[in-house]
């Protein structure tokens, strides 16, 4: 029992962290002490205190309130990039595995092409081309995000397709579509879900990075990456940049724990 607790303890911790941040994102307007964009220059750059738990920034806005609201954009961006990317990528990967021949070749070459760019740089170029804004940045990230899912889904589907249970389904005269959706898809779902969970952290990091570079959100929207960016020169007023960074760190660690736990749980080799 203690061994099991130890193995999945971190996963539960991760789930708790992620759940806590989801709640914060959901309840931000109600639990924030101040409106996130309430400028008050008389109150600028205040140390953390009872009135402002995490201090105020250069425009006198409450860091805590902005941080709580920032969870909305970060999580929304992370989830939309990963879920849409995984959806598109998985669909393309499975399609490629099923089409074989010319169609498979074309789809996988397209995938390889996108994969041969350093993802962040390409996303950066695309985001710049599309213009500043949350939606545009998410679209730019999606363009570089789907290929890894396409590759994974295709290789998983190829493995499953050669399994005897799929052959058995064919011999039983089941329609191809049914085999694809009812037999193959459920069996490749696990590894894709693991990748999604681990990937959520990376997507949140990337989006924060693009925001930090000034591409993610339109000011004055509260977003963690741009909050760090606003505070990056303020070494003396450390609280402005430190707390949003900590927020990113905890959320990413949460998803990492959760993803690792999920992988161990799904991996039959880890069971003793």
């Amino acid at each position: 029992m203690r061994r099991r607790l130890r193995r999945y303890g971190l996963a539960w911790a991760g789930a708790a962290i992620v759940l806590a941040w989801l709640l914060v994102a959901l309840l931000a307007p109600w639990i924030s002490p101040y409106p996130p964009n309430a400028v008050d220059v008389t109150q600028r750059l205040l140390l953390p205190s009872a009135a402002h738990w995490l201090g105020t920034d250069i425009l006198g806005r409450d860091v805590l309130s902005r941080l709580l609201h920032g969870a909305r954009i970060s999580l929304l961006a992370g989830f939309s990039v990963v879920l849409l990317g995984a959806g598109i990528g998985t669909a393309i990967g499975i399609l490629a595995a099923w089409l074989r021949g010319w169609g498979e070749e074309a789809l996988m070459r397209l995938t390889d092409l996108v994969l041969c760019f350093p993802p962040i740089i390409l996303a950066l170029a695309l985001a710049a081309a599309l213009g500043i804004g949350t939606t545009n940045t998410i679209i730019a990230m999606l363009v570089v995000w789907w290929p890894k899912y396409a590759r994974l889904a295709r290789s998983l589907a190829l493995v499953q397709r050669s399994q005897e249970y799929v052959e058995a389904a064919t011999v039983l005269g089941l329609p191809q579509k049914r085999i694809l959706l009812r037999h193959i898809l459920p069996n490749i779902f696990g590894p894709i879900a693991v990748l999604c969970t681990l990937d959520l952290g990376i997507a949140i990091l990337t989006f924060a990075g693009l925001s930090f570079l000034g591409l993610g959100v339109v000011p004055p929207a509260a977003e963690w990456g741009s909050m760090v960016s606003e505070g990056r020169e303020l070494v003396e007023q450390w609280w402005v940049a430190t707390f949003p960074g900590l927020a990113i760190l905890t959320v990413v660690i949460g998803f990492n724990f959760l993803g690792d736990g999920l992988r161990d749980w799904l991996d039959p080799k880890a069971q003793r």
Binding site: L113, I248, L249
Partner: protein
């Protein structure tokens, strides 16, 4: 593949009409799916586009990447000027990450569930989870702002002159000129950004080495090696490690991409006059020709690194040799 990459960059930049007209950037959103559609039709591209591509390629061959809006200089000149600073920083970080990450990963696998394993796991977790730009800020705030142990941002003291030298790598140039004061200054300025830049890569390498090593230690050939009566040291170094390095090397390309991304963030905070900061400035100013030029140069480098990875993969693993 390199040709395809240049084609994609060409096509993206082709839909930025002629001169950088910021107002028209919105149109690109509409034409973006066309980029993909056009590429898919690449086997049957009509002549005019080929010709345009030919001109673009010829420009590339002559080193013409267009002109930067922000600096009003040819993009290639900017890149050549800023590259050495980044290469110097990246190389030092990469070496640090490898030199620390691989032994740490091995130790963590051998003494599984010991304190060193715990240390490795915490380090790699924080390494891959912490945003680089934030880590840079924290390091600067602590070691420069608070403790005063490290020098401030920049490659050199603000009053110092950059060394005259052949390479643009300050460590090399100062040593070349026998300027040991300058060398020490350079080194002092390098340490913090190098650590920050190495963090994510270190995390990735430690994690991969540990997992690969654990996997190899459970393989039959390791049992066979033990059954032969080889010492544990020989079993690990000769039989397990060689196999464990295969996935670590495969990771090289990914780790390198990490460095590129990290450089953008790290250089911005540390006022490091390299490609990363140039990228940040270009992106912030929507300096499109510059962004395209950087994308092209960096993608080419990335491709080259991946090619090297493939080659070393073939050296390490006889099964992929033909």
């Amino acid at each position: 593949m390199a040709l395809f990459a240049s084609l994609v960059v060409f096509l993206i930049s082709n839909f930025v009409p002629g001169d950088p007209v910021l107002a028209q950037l919105g149109d690109i959103l509409a034409s973006d799916p066309v980029v993909v559609a056009q590429w898919r039709a690449k086997w049957g591209l009509d002549l005019p586009l080929w010709e345009r591509y030919g001109i673009f390629l010829r420009g590339l061959l002559h080193g013409d990447l267009g002109q930067s809006i922000a600096t009003r200089r040819p993009v290639l000149e900017d890149i050549v000027q800023f590259a050495p600073a980044t290469v110097e920083l990246a190389t030092i970080s990469f070496v640090m990450a490898l030199a620390l990450g691989i032994p740490l990963g091995i130790a963590a696998a051998i003494w599984r569930d010991s304190w060193i394993d715990a240390l490795a796991r915490v380090l790699s977790l924080v390494g891959v989870s912490a945003p680089t730009f934030w880590l840079a800020f924290i390091m600067l705030a602590i070691f420069y702002g608070w403790l005063g142990w490290a020098p401030g941002p920049g490659r050199l003291d603000p009053i110092a002159f950059p060394p005259e030298g052949p390479s643009g790598f300050f460590l090399f140039d100062t040593a070349w000129a026998g300027d040991w004061e300058g060398f020490a200054d350079t080194l002092a300025h390098l340490i913090l950004p190098a650590i920050v830049l190495a963090a994510a890569t270190l995390g990735l390498i430690t994690r991969t080495t540990r997992a690969a090593m654990l996997d190899c230690l459970q393989q039959d050939y390791v049992r066979v090696a033990r059954a032969k009566g080889l010492r544990e040291r020989v079993v690990i170094l000769r039989h397990a490690l060689r196999n464990a390095l295969v996935p670590v090397v495969t990771l090289g390309g990914l780790a390198y991409a990490n460095l590129l991304t990290g450089a953008v963030m790290t250089e911005t905070i540390f006022a490091w006059p390299g490609l990363g900061r140039y990228t940040f400035r270009s992106a912030a100013a929507l300096d499109f020709p510059a962004i395209m030029g950087i994308t092209l140069v960096v993608s080419a480098t990335y491709l080259l690194v991946n090619l090297l990875v493939d080659l070393s993969y073939a050296v390490l693993d006889p099964r992929v040799r033909r």
